[in-house]
């Protein structure tokens, strides 16, 4: 699975600029589904029809977002340095000395304005990107171009570290589940690789409006409480996929939570329960779209979320795949 993870996490795809990552994912899912299409906003929708003879199958939407946080150039100085704004939740203390890469491959190094007070964190606006230009004229980048953070994938035993584990690891779980699903599923499955989650779950909202699912499941990372001085949270790396009960944008459907737990226990999958104090996922958009849907989320615990070194545990990822397969394989009377 590490080769697949490496391929996805090292790809370019800030929110709004997902064409490249979509073209990587498309051939990976095509062999396993009946139809693949791309909607108006760029969501990749892979449809796997319910096994024959099913009357009125449930429509189940599974969403993992393809986009990642990044930056966009807002101004080029006379000396050719780039000022920039954030795409999604970029923390300014992760910036200094980091590297970004533009779609055309141009690499930039992030520097910061003079620091007079080392106890204060510079805001994003006091950082700049150096692409090696010396003037506006020889700068290879234009205002309005987007870049992602640049960091190679590393496997350290079970711990896997990369930029954009949020949420390429969810995409990996979806792809692996498609590979392992039996042929005769009783539900219509819509695997959606969504766009623009990091700027406000925008892609999943329109995808759900188009699909009108009965049941919605997001696959996304969640925070952990297992590092020094962490905010208390009963989720830790290596303790299995997390079944989301609540985050700041959504309360999961209690029946779907119960069903996830039951399927995990039947299949002998180690899992943990998740109550997340901040943030939300595509599940919120799917729950509220159109006439609403039964929504929940299978989370992959992740340390250092929204930094260039997001870290997950390989066994948690495998567990998330197994849980999703177990959930989709059985009946879904809620």
């Amino acid at each position: 699975m590490n080769d697949l993870i490496r391929m996805l996490v090292e790809a370019y795809g800030p929110s709004g600029f997902e064409d490249g990552i979509r073209e990587i994912i498309r051939p990976l899912v095509e062999p396993h589904v009946d139809e693949v299409r791309v909607d108006a906003m760029g969501n990749l929708i892979a449809f796997k029809r319910a096994a024959g003879g099913q009357a009125n199958p449930h429509k189940v939407m599974i969403a993992a977002h393809m986009d990642e946080i990044g930056v966009m150039v807002s101004h080029i100085t006379e000396k050719g340095f780039l000022r920039f704004t954030n795409i999604g939740g970029v923390f300014s203390h992760t910036l200094m000395g980091g590297r970004v890469r533009f779609e055309d491959g141009t690499l930039g190094v992030i520097g910061s304005d003079r620091i007079d007070d080392r106890s204060a964190i510079h805001p994003l606006s006091k950082h700049f990107i150096d692409v090696g230009a010396t003037s506006r004229e020889d700068c290879p980048v234009r205002v309005g171009q987007a870049a992602n953070f640049d960091r190679p994938f590393e496997a350290r035993g079970r711990h896997l570290t990369a930029k954009s584990m949020d949420d390429r690891i969810g995409c990996v779980v979806a792809i692996e589940a498609l590979r392992h699903l039996p042929a005769d599923i009783a539900h219509d499955l819509y695997f959606v690789f969504s766009v623009q989650e990091e700027v406000g779950t925008r892609g999943a909202e329109v995808a759900a409006n188009g699909i009108m699912p009965d049941v919605s499941i997001a696959l996304d990372v969640t925070l952990t409480g297992d590092v020094p001085e962490a905010r208390p949270m009963d989720v830790s790396l290596g303790s299995g996929p997390a079944i989301k009960v609540k985050d700041s944008g959504m309360i999961s459907h209690p029946g779907l939570v119960r069903l996830m737990r039951r399927r995990a226990e039947e299949a002998g999958i180690t899992y943990q329960m998740e109550v997340l104090d901040g943030g939300s996922t595509d599940a919120r958009a799917m729950q509220l779209a159109g006439p609403g849907s039964v929504a929940g989320c299978i989370s992959i615990p992740c340390r250092y979320v929204h930094s260039p070194s997001e870290t997950v545990d390989a066994e948690d990822v495998a567990g998330a795949v197994a849980l999703l397969v177990a959930l989709l394989t059985g009946d879904m009377e809620l």
Binding site: V38, A40, H75, R142
Partner: protein
């Protein structure tokens, strides 16, 4: 004198009470569209059928509401309390003349004269809840105003700089409305053009949300007036768009990441036709694209804007060269828009 801009900016249409400007725009376009209607929220929707070359519906939107004031109380002495309808800098209000209610009662947002201020007061910003509109009445009855009436600024349209610069109220977004009226009056496009003159943008993109849901469009272009920030600036920092540098093309604001294919099409059209444009600084702000992009199952969107100084104050300033660039670029980009540009496979 640009009579269209004069008529449109001098008309009143505060968010939530757009009837006057809606009737004006209806009269301006009625002879040039195949059908028009007004929806439940008050959006004016019009269709100008295409030549039949492409089976496409393209939505072009301009919000017709303007920021203004809403009367919340009238005291026994005839003074009016108010809140903002849309976003304001309180400092822009004191001493300004307003027109209140459907009868356009003239009033002034009163300010204590500088002679009567203590040093302490002098350095503080007066908040709207401490301001009153004075219509010169001595009693509540004499004020001839009702709670719930709207008030708009009174600024006559004028052209400066030999007619290349204009000042007036409500360029945000009557400049976009004027551009859209011009598009509707031109030659037919190769597709059906759906025009929406929308309400309540300034209070949260509310009109466009329902207009776009009903438009069932294949793509959309929003015409706007975006704040210019091009005043003297010592630092080589991030200015926003500047007056006189052309139509501004949006890439990203806090509500929307514009469709990259349409952004590229706008820029390529500008380059090919020699129409001046500038990229608006990505970052904050938001336009109707935010609502339109996510209406129903999604609509590819882009935004073109006239840069305007002093947005959300009683008097804005725009360059008429920029305005014409917006009209020309919107027209040329629409005429060269093909189904291939927005097709997804």
């Amino acid at each position: 004198m640009n009579e269209l801009l004069k008529q449109l900016t001098e008309a009143v249409g505060v968010s939530g009470a757009e009837k006057e400007v809606r009737l004006l725009i209806r009269d301006l376009i009625a002879d040039h569209v195949d059908e028009w209607s007004v929806d439940s929220m008050g959006n004016l929707l019009a269709t100008r059928r295409g030549t039949g070359q492409y089976d496409m519906r393209i939505l072009v939107d301009a919000h017709m509401d303007e920021v203004g004031l809403l009367i919340t109380d009238i005291d026994s002495g005839g003074m009016l309390s108010f809140v903002g309808a849309g976003g304001f800098d309180d400092r822009a209000l004191l001493g300004k003349v307003v027109q209140v209610g459907p009868d356009k009662i003239t009033g002034v947002i009163g300010a204590r004269a500088v002679h009567l201020l203590s040093n302490n007061e002098y350095s503080r910003t007066v908040r709207t809840d401490a301001m009153r509109i004075d219509v010169g009445a001595k009693s509540e009855a004499a004020a001839k105003v009702k709670i719930g009436d709207y008030a708009a600024f009174v600024t006559e349209y004028e052209e400066l700089d030999g007619g290349r610069t204009a000042i007036g109220k409500a360029f945000d977004n009557r400049a976009g409305c004027a551009a859209l009226v011009e598009l509707l009056r031109g030659e037919r496009y190769p597709f059906d053009l759906i025009a929406s003159f929308t309400v309540q943008e300034e209070v949260g993109l509310r009109g466009a949300e329902v207009a776009a849901y009903n438009a069932k469009a294949d793509a959309a272009l929003v015409l706007e007036c975006t704040p210019a920030y091009d005043l003297p600036n010592e630092k080589d920092a991030s200015p926003n768009v500047a007056l006189g540098k052309g139509a501004s093309v949006y890439v990203m604001d806090s509500r929307t990441i514009q469709d990259p294919r349409l952004v590229a099409h706008l820029m390529a059209t500008g380059d090919a036709r020699g129409i001046r444009y500038q990229v608006r600084q990505p970052g904050g702000g938001g336009t109707n694209t935010g609502a339109i992009q996510r209406a129903g199952a999604g609509i590819p969107v882009a935004t073109l804007a006239v840069p305007g100084r002093y947005a959300h104050t009683p008097t804005m300033m725009i360059s008429l060269d920029d305005y014409e660039s917006v009209v020309r670029l919107a027209d040329a980009a629409l005429r060269s828009l093909t189904p291939e540009i927005i097709r997804r496979r």
